[in-house]
Amino acid sequence: MREITFSEALGEAMYEEMSRDPTIFTYGEDIAKQGGIFGAYKSLLGKFQGRVIDTPISEEVIFGSALGAALAGMRPVAEFHFADFLFTGMTAIANQIMKFRYMTGGQAKLHLVLRGPDGISKSAAAQHSESIETIFMHIPGIKVIVPSTPYDMKGLFKTALKSEDPVICFEHKMLYGLKGPVPDEEYYIPFGKADVKREGKDVTVVTTSRMVHESLKAAANLEKEGISVEVVDLRTLVPWDRETVINSVKKTHRLVVAHETWKRSGWSSEIAFIVQREAFDYLDAPIEKVGAYNVHIPFSPPLQDFVVPDYKDVEKAVKNVLGGI
């Protein structure tokens, strides 16, 4: 199968769906002329006249107008440039977009997609490095997709572009350049369907995004020590695939939930709660979480490495649960 980058997979999903559906248009900062700061829209450059638009730096306007366009029957895809900037437009998102279908008693559909990069890169510091997907899982009213591979990116994003609900897509900065197999033919990946990225029998690691790759690396290292790790990539957080996670825990009896965002009240807590309730009799050790320390992401490279989790933290957590903690 041919291999393309994560970024190209997103571009393909946009290209295919924009060709199919004339109501899809996209706008944000630095996308029309530049093709997006991470190059995801390169394939759209010079095509789809008037449907790929640069905006001024005003998140409130970007997200607020997306709501209006969606209500007027369009399918806007608004880019948030950096996840950290979502806070600037949060009243439009949390107070309008995420509430609209509820407050109209479901009378209005709201097909819009918010998308953009999140997570760390090389020393982008506290205001350009956050992972804040938990907030969107916490507040009702938006579907949250967090792909980890080019294949998942394309399939999930195409589904997002057909959704009747608002969708937010978090793309990790360090994944844009990642290459992976993507078939030539069209496909869609349904929301709420986790992907077991590696099968194992001793410990289940539930994760998403960049931490999928860190977890796979940890699993490969641990295999040399005779520890068999199952890596479950949730792919979407709203909805998330309880069945796959619980079945995996019933098999391995031990669970680690790993994400890049802060450990305190990160979405891992929700997974851990559901698993202890649904699979209580199957657990042989307390559930362990992997996440960032409870501070903002430092600029200093060694400090960033210290604060943000990687494969070494996953290995440690796996060994902890195997030792019973």
Binding site: H253, F280, D281, Y282, D284, G323, G324
Partner: protein, 395 residues
């Protein structure tokens, strides 16, 4: 001098009630001979003597209880020992003096150390999984020492305790070897126990005069096995009685046009049932060749999944060995199986009340009574016998 201790017959047994001493003080006793009878949890067991000698002392009388592991008697191994004074039993039980096998293996399961209890609540630290496993297998968590953090009992600890119980059960005495089932044996075991559990298995038996069939076999220029001839007979009967030419999964019955007959083959790895497909359409010579081919492939382990699937009825022929009647278990999804015993020359009564020496064999038809009635089975056996006993035999 050898101690006799109260053995442990069940995991939860703490005390035993001595219902009877078979021997009295001074009696001679052989090693392994029943020495006393113990009742616990409504089960009565004989306790064999751990040694040959004389009963020197009985410490716990009939009608009394003793805790598991407690010394209840002494056996003197010689007459001199019989006269010696009895020294007090040591508090801790030395390994050498463990009296019987059953005591020896049970002693291992007693707690080596006090289980972890927090405060005065008697709470035992165990993982949820460990608790569930212990509950399901009737294991008392207080008898297990936890290997987890702060002495928490985890899955591994319960599994270890379980395997000790299993070892205890599987190793009766003396030298023994523990062997895991091979994958093929495990499949056989699973299929058989599934069919045995799910079906209502009944076996009808009848004695069949094989003389005519054997005469026919002898008359053939080609060498053909009795099994091949029987397959042809069965194909004819299955055509006439289609009720038997089916698969049944507990809810639906699938009837077949074709007649596929499984033929049980014994191999060094276990029983395999390759299938003679369309047995009704093949000639006797073709059936014979097919059985030969399948058996040799079965024995060399070359059979493909296809060659063992799709049978509607099975023939298991033990005629070449010493078995007269038996109750075969059904092959997967089938409703009947015919077991053929050895052929023996017998004096039988024939027409006009005359005696004759005939080649007789027992045919045992096992069937699933849920879908096959006793009368159906009798009709089937009758039809098989009628064809085999017809003179001359024709197929």
């Amino acid at each position: 001098m050898v101690e006799v201790r109260m053995p442990k017959f069940g995991l939860s047994m703490e005390k035993g009630f001595i219902t009877r001493w078979y021997k009295s003080k001074g009696d001679r006793v052989e090693k392994g001979e029943p020495l006393l009878e113990v009742e616990s949890e409504k089960i009565t067991n004989d306790v064999p003597s751990p040694a040959t000698g004389f009963v020197k002392e009985i410490l716990v009388e009939e009608g009394s209880e003793a805790e598991v592991g407690k010394v209840i008697a002494y056996i003197a191994e010689s007459e001199e020992e019989l006269k010696e004074e009895v020294k007090k039993a040591p508090e801790k039980q030395p390994e050498e003096s463990v009296p019987t096998e059953s005591v020896q293996k049970e002693v291992k399961e007693q707690p080596l150390e006090t289980p972890v209890r927090s405060g005065q609540t008697g709470f035992i630290k165990a993982s949820p999984l460990a608790k569930r496993l212990a509950r399901e297998h009737g294991i008392d968590l207080s008898t297990i020492k936890g290997s987890g953090p702060n002495g928490r009992i985890v899955e591994k600890d319960v599994l270890n305790a379980l395997s000790k119980v299993a070892e205890g059960a599987a190793v009766p005495e003396g030298k023994a070897q523990v062997e895991k089932l091979s994958p093929i044996r495990r499949t056989i075991a699973e299929n058989l126990s599934e069919m045995y559990r799910k079906t209502v298995l009944v076996t009808n038996m009848t004695e069949v005069d094989m003389s005519s069939l054997l005469a026919f076999k002898k008359s053939l220029t080609e060498k053909v096995s009795v099994t091949a001839i029987l397959v042809k007979v069965l194909a004819q009967v299955l055509k006439a009685l289609p009720k038997f030419n089916v698969n049944f999964d507990g809810e639906t019955i699938t009837r077949f046009e074709s007649v596929n007959i499984g033929v049980a083959v014994s191999t060094k790895n276990g029983l395999i049932v390759p299938v003679v497909k369309d047995a009704d359409k093949l000639t006797l010579s073709q059936v014979n060749a097919e059985i030969k081919r399948l058996s040799s492939r079965a024995r060399s382990g070359e059979l493909t999944g296809e060659e063992t699937k799709g049978s509607h009825f099975t023939l298991t022929n033990l005629g070449m060995m010493r078995t007269d009647m038996f109750t075969p278990v059904l092959n997967k999804n089938e409703v009947a199986i015919l077991g053929v015993g050895r052929t023996v020359k017998k004096v039988v009564v024939i027409e006009d009340d005359k005696f004759a020496v005939r080649d007789m064999a027992y045919f045992s038809l096992s069937y699933d009574h849920r879908v096959i009635d006793g009368a159906d089975a009798a009709e089937f056996l009758g039809e098989v016998a009628r064809i085999i006993e017809s003179v001359p035999f024709v197929i």
